[in-house]
Subunit: 192 residues, 2 copies
């Protein structure tokens, strides 16, 4: 039997990604976000949504610089990723606190956090304020990938990356699980 529940945000699964940018003084800002998705194939793009009302420093920096990076944390960096979501860039240097380092992205003016294994270099292509959050769509202009998470064909391996998953209902982190099937084949049995 189905029951009604009070409206609240949810997505299964959701990621725990890191958005990074330089502020107007050239200092690095970063924050952890569960509101993120792919959103365009041509050009390749991602959309991240950051709370407007909380006056997040990273949001201000991205709106200033119009360029940012997105990193996909592995489970091994769960605690650091959690801290980057708790602390504020107005109060402390989050990367220093967790012992992480960064370098300049190659194609945009944004920081790449060295410890995260996959980073997207993004250029803002669309901004919209919707509800409590600002939606920022970024064209992916370069991808930096650690060789250790690539498969033998040079593609990013989901299992080797072991990305951190976030459940916003229980406020918990999960690992990815077992392979189920290749897409676009299991459904063919229903074709008339």
């Amino acid at each position: 039997m189905k029951v009604n529940q009070k409206p609240r945000t949810m997505m299964f699964p959701a990621p725990a990604i890191i958005a990074s940018a330089y502020d107007e003084k050239g200092n690095v800002d970063c924050c952890t976000l569960a509101f993120a998705t792919m959103c365009s194939h041509h050009p390749p793009a991602v959309m991240i949504a950051i709370n407007t009302t909380l006056k997040r420093k990273t949001l201000k920096s991205i709106l200033y610089s119009k360029e940012f990076s997105v990193a996909f944390p592995s489970v091994e960096h769960m605690a650091e990723t959690d801290y980057i979501g708790i602390a504020s860039g107005y109060d402390t240097n989050k990367l220093e606190d967790v012992g992480f380092t960064f370098k300049d992205a190659e194609h945009v003016n944004a920081p790449i956090i060295n410890e995260y294994k996959i980073s997207l270099e993004c250029r803002v292509m669309h901004i919209a304020e919707v509800g409590s959050h600002t939606q920022i769509t970024g064209e992916i202009v370069n991808i930096q990938a650690e060789e250790s998470v690539l498969d033998d064909k040079g593609k990013i391996s989901y299992e080797k990356l072991n990305p951190l998953c976030y459940d916003d209902v229980s406020h918990s982190y999960f690992e990815i699980g077992d392979f189920v099937a290749r897409a676009f084949k299991p459904g063919l049995k229903f074709r008339k």
Copy 2:
């Protein structure tokens, strides 16, 4: 060592959700999407992105009716979900083909697919064409949840739902994995 990769869309993890709407004749449309995220707390909202250039029928129906539902498939419905992503509503009745049924949502004019255990009832609050896709943000005005996936406090259990995860790089489905930690605690050890 890090290497550059050719830009392409990616998100780790990504969901495989079902968007449903009624077309202008009242017929049910649905499609499978990996481009979906939470995007606002107040009001609660989700954003889905549907390919504009492919002229998807469900996109047309949502733009017509301005209301839709989002379902979160469990791994047990992987094959049906895969089919709903392969077939076109212009060619066939996808739900009949897979043996699924639907009913009217309670708060919006959109179909709820009975077999999926969690559905969000959404009302369009923002539309933007960005890149190859149309971004549709929907306010979540009601949630229908199957009692079998609720925990003893009445909250949706990530493990009981066992949502289908999608990897767009390998075009594969995965299960969710083990619990790692509660959020907003592991990072506190870095606080100065």
